[in-house]
Amino acid sequence: MKTRKLLAAVLALAMALSLCTAASAEGAIKIGVIGPMTGGAAVYGTAVANGAKIAVEEINALGGLQIELDIQDDEHDAEKAINAYNNTMDNDTQMILGTVTTNPCIAVSAQAFEERVFMLTPSASSPKVTEGKDNMYQVCFTDPAQGVASAEMIVEKKLGTKVGIIYNNSDAYSTGIYQSFIVKAKELGLEVVAETTFASDDNADFSVQIAACKNAGADLVFLPIYYTPASLILAQAKAVEYAPTFFGVDGMDGILTLEGFDKSLAEGVMLLTPFSAASTDEKTQSFVGKYVAAYGEEPNQFAADAYDGIYALYTAVQNAGITPDTPAEEACEKLIAEFATLQVSGLTGELAWAPSGEVTKVPYVYVIKDGAYAKME
């Protein structure tokens, strides 16, 4: 009986405390963050949440307009993402930073479009995310933009003449870049000698794909994929003594911070990315320092995109005169008007937005030298 009373007291206290936190949140702009915090894609969701938290801490420390985040887990699942969206809307969220991954984002943005809730995704890069939805904006490059820029860069800098490609055709990101790359490559007269695919993020054996590129005599292998499979490809290519130029996109960023990775494998790898934790830029260094101190690892581009996303929302909210009492529908219309002219200088470059929701910023090519990024001019 005694324990039961004690339990009741504890629960009552917990309830009182939760009421307190809810009360203290009043007077803050409420931003919902939706992404995979657990499950196979958790690496991206947690990076976004962490990057966003750092931006919010900085902003709240300034005084003035306060921001509160409501972080929801979607496990990289479209259905769960809808639940996460409904949860956060029940918590009086005014706008959404998310969702992190493409398929859930397509599902959630459709509903947010109906309900007039403004969404800014840090990282869902398919054009399908923004297609036909005026309330949906991106911080990251679209996939086709990356494919086109990569092809142009390879031709312009004469990085290779015969190109092999290994991409993940179960992944919208990878396939999207591949498709626009191949079109642009043809247009520029770049010879593509091998196109190979793999069908799952869990795929571990790339011997066949590497052999296909090697046998076709490719001197540059384009890898529009994430760094985990890329690290396997680099290791397996070395095992068969195949050493072309490897060219990656922003998904390749992070390979040097992969724990236990033999950096010599990445020597000479090139990548096209708007963000690099190794950049000497002052703003980037401060962000990286805070991130490492708080989470014990270097931030990737997802964290940087989320950080920029929060600042973009913060700037737009201030310009549009949105207050913590503005309902989500009204905030949505104001933000749409504001994003048409919004310019933000962020970690991933100078950001501005097209009415379609697509971002315009400039990517850089980095080459890995002595285990560090060096900017290629």
């Binding site: 958790a42 690496v43 069908a199 011997s207 052999a211 985990t228 990775f261």
Partner: protein, 294 residues
């Protein structure tokens, strides 16, 4: 021709990994008559422990493998004790579902402990690769070690179950638990021992898997686990040499399918094999047909 041989080599190196996982699967199924779907995740835990031992605790590769084996053995026994033993009398479906639940529990625990970021696993194998035909054909040190480990484990397990008292006790338990109990065999201890051995094998498999394919995440074990299960069924589940043959063949089928048909369909070939085997020869290549006595 050289191209074909190099594909064959890749197939064998992939297959030897499947085989070593399948050995553990088959062993546990053969004795305890249950599909331990958490086997793949014990592999993943083994790989993480080995990773921690070499990277954080500064141990030599060999000692780290031993540490991983010890931890996995304990883990296997604890899992059996907590999750499977209370269900000894329950239907096999209940045990199967518990095993799937255990699999998710292990994956998410790993996510909590080690985080979602992948880790690159430094190979524990220090011998170099063998080069044939003027370097046109390369066989990696990991492949050689894995194939050798397979053969050693297979012989050791066959001798253990055939010659030793404990091994014989295991076989008796697998045939008839009730009768085994009447003969004075401690059924619970025997099944625990089976899980201990199976989990120690899982640790070795995890280390070799990640040495060959060095990306380590909390879901690393699940796909190879399922494929190894297919390999075990292919070879005849419960049969120890069957696991080895099934694993090797499956690896070769997967690589040749990828090489000559389509790289996208690699996984499809593997599971097509499972379906065909179940339709044509449900007991697998080396499986024994057991008549149910009424």
């Amino acid at each position: 021709m050289i191209t074909f041989l190099s594909y064959l080599c890749s197939g064998i190196s992939l297959g030897s990994i499947y085989a070593i996982i399948a050995l553990g699967y088959s062993m546990v199924y053969g004795i305890a008559k249950m599909l331990n779907f958490a086997h793949g995740d014990v592999i993943m835990i083994g790989a993480y422990i080995c990773f921690c031992a070499t990277q954080y605790w500064g141990m030599a590769p060999i000692t780290s493998v031993v540490v991983a084996m010890v931890v996995c053995t304990l883990l296997g026994v604890v899992i059996e004790r907590l999750a499977y033993k209370p269900l000894r009398a329950a239907s096999s479906l209940a045990v199967l579902i518990t095993a799937i639940g255990m699999s998710y529990l292990l994956q998410n625990s790993a996510l909590l402990i080690w985080g979602a970021n992948p880790k690159s696993f430094p190979s524990v194998v220090s011998i170099g690769s063998i080069s044939l035909f003027d370097g046109q054909l390369l066989i990696s040190g990991e492949t050689i070690v894995t194939v050798l480990a397979n053969i050693v484990i297979m012989i050791a397990l066959t001798l253990f179950t055939g010659k030793t008292k404990l091994g014989k006790a295991m076989r008796v338990v697998s045939e008839d638990k009730g009768a085994a109990e009447l003969m004075g065999i401690n059924v619970n201890a025997t099944i625990s021992l089976t899980f201990a051995i199976g989990s120690a094998l899982a640790a070795i498999a995890g280390v070799l898997l990640c040495s060959a394919y060095p990306a380590l995440t909390p879901t690393t074990g699940s796909m190879p686990g399922i494929k190894a299960f297919t390999a075990a069924v292919f070879g005849g589940i419960g049969s120890i040499p069957g696991a080895l043959i099934g694993g090797l063949l499956l690896g070769v089928i997967e690589i040749l399918g990828k090489a000559y048909v389509s790289t996208e369909l690699g996984d499809a070939f593997v599971f097509a094999v499972l379906i065909v085997v179940l339709l044509v020869k449900p007991t697998g290549l080396l499986g024994k047909k057991v008549h149910e006595k009424v």
